[in-house]
């Protein structure tokens, strides 16, 4: 029987935690807002974008959502601002801005 990890919180006694803090749930990283770490921010200029999608697979944080084969604006909750997408874009459709 799997431990229901949704019942564990920061006040749970040690007896209630899972072995090795194993997390018995999927996609839990979604609820961890790594975008807070960002010190530089990519800005998306939709009018320059040719929808070549070269930026999508190089994003290490899967922060470029694609809907119906078209990239959307950034998922700023998870984008850490590494700037790899800027280097990948041949059309100047992404620029880095200083700060959050």
């Amino acid at each position: 029987m799997r431990t229901d990890v949704s019942k564990i919180n920061e006040q749970s006694p040690y007896q209630d935690l899972t072995k090795g803090l194993h997390m018995y749930a999927a996609a839990t990283s979604k609820s961890f807002n790594t975008g807070e770490w960002r010190t530089n921010t990519p800005v998306f200029y939709a009018e320059k974008c040719k929808q070549c999608l070269l930026c999508v697979p190089v994003c290490p944080d899967s922060s470029i959502p694609v809907v119906d084969c078209r990239r959307q604006d950034f998922d700023y909750d998870h984008c850490k601002g590494c700037g790899i997408c800027v280097k990948a874009c041949p059309f100047g459709a992404i620029e880095m801005r200083e700060g959050q």
Partner: protein, 397 residues
């Protein structure tokens, strides 16, 4: 009917690995453990076992891959020595904290410097607080026997911790001795098949391992890990008893050799226990009441059990094949003395350092140590603590 053979310690462990037939073995060669992965890869190439062998680029990677394979749900192991173990340092702690029941065949060798490839326990003792269970062998037979017991201990639901099976570099790893081997089917049924409850590649039941833990979780997680290590003691004893039923061999936490009425006892780990036992036999023949305790399980440390095993003797020599560089002797000395004090057992306890970097340790050394203990008890001559055995010393020439 057991199989009688002759093997080196490395051959014995490699043979045990072949019989256990684990799923994955990532390894990187380092003296004196190199033969273990070499022999296992030969077994694999010859179709004698179907372990997946991963040649990696370093020990940092071999332990990482061992953890990765174990997390995926595969029974995994690696082998190393000395600097290889040191390079695994970070991953050793992760294997334990992520509760990976993997196994490491350690062939004990000193750490640099001065650079040297011979036996002492500096490598294993350096990893003593990584959360691994550590089981040491006196000879090739014990290295084989201990390896067969490793997975049943590690994988027990009460434990779920990694196990290090240690033997002395060159002294046992390369010396050929007579050995009794179990039949393959007996090993298979003793070790059993690996059926982890939770693993990363379990279909339909996704999970994550090694998540970031904020302060509100980390201390509770460490308590649970510590409790598992404590619980492993009874599992180690249970598995040892079961193995003894099968083979008639082995010890639980430690072996007590002629200690029942002993006034003077030497506590020692590994191959030098054989030397100590020979010296005890020689001195017993002359009427001296001496005995040896050979520690098999160093982690979890049987502090209580050792203290009570020593309570009826007058003095104990605690032998460390390792210098801790703490100005307070070796790890075995510190831990046994702490255990004695906690149990209010106030016997004379002397910590000696011996056999560093392959320095010989002989029966003559053992006689002299027992004489020193007797001199302390009978004549009140305070023995020197942390004395290096066999050291060339201008003052005593």
């Amino acid at each position: 009917m057991a199989i009688r053979d002759r093997m080196s310690g490395n051959e014995a462990v490699a043979f045990a690995i072949k019989q256990v037939n684990p799923d994955v073995m990532p390894a990187f060669p380092i003296t004196p453990s190199t033969e273990i992965p070499q022999l296992v890869s030969t077994y694999i190439a010859n179709g004698d076992c179907d372990t997946e062998f991963i040649p990696v680029e370093s020990e940092h990677s071999s332990m990482s891959a061992t953890i990765g394979a174990e997390a995926a749900g595969a029974r995994s192991l690696t082998a190393t020595s000395s600097c290889g173990l040191a390079l695994m340092w970070e991953e050793l702690l992760l294997a334990a904290s992520n509760r990976m029941p993997c196994v490491l065949a350690l062939v004990n060798r000193t750490l640099s410097g001065p650079i040297n490839i011979n036996c002492d326990h500096t490598d294993g003792m350096g990893a003593r607080d990584t959360g691994w269970i550590q089981i040491y062998a006196e000879n090739n037979q014990e290295a084989y026997d201990n390896f067969i017991q490793a997975y049943p201990i590690a994988e027990d639901e009460r434990v779920q911790l990694p196990v290090m099976i240690c033997q002395d570099g060159f002294i046992t790893s390369h010396a050929v001795e007579n050995i009794e081997l179990l039949e393959d089917d007996k090993v298979s049924s003793f070790v059993g098949t690996y059926n982890p409850q939770e693993y990363l590649l379990k279909p339909g039941e996704p999970m994550a391992m090694g998540p970031y833990s904020v302060s509100n979780y980390a201390m509770e997680a460490r308590k649970n890990q510590e409790l598992a290590l404590e619980a492993s003691k009874e599992v180690i004893v249970e598995v040892a008893k079961k193995y003894k039923e099968l083979t008639g061999r082995g010890f639980e936490l430690f072996e007590e050799y002629r200690t029942e009425d002993a006034d003077y006892v030497m506590v020692i780990i590994g191959s030098a226990a054989g030397t100590a036992k020979q010296a005890v036999d020689d001195m017993r023949a002359k009427g001296k009441k001496v005995g040896v305790i050979k520690l098999r399980v160093f982690r979890p440390f049987p502090a209580y059990e050792l203290a009570h095993a020593l309570k009826n003797c007058k003095a104990v020599a605690i032998m460390d094949r390792c210098e801790s560089y703490n100005g307070n002797g070796g790890p075995l000395g510190s831990e046994i003395m702490a255990g004695l004090y906690r149990e209010r057992i106030y016997i004379e306890a002397v910590n000696y350092i011996y056999g560093l970097a392959g320095r010989d340790f002989t029966v003559d050394h053992v006689y002299a140590i027992f004489d020193e203990l007797e001199d302390a008890v009978v004549n009140g001559k305070k023995p020197e603590q942390f004395k290096y055995i066999g050291l060339r010393d201008a003052m005593t020439r």
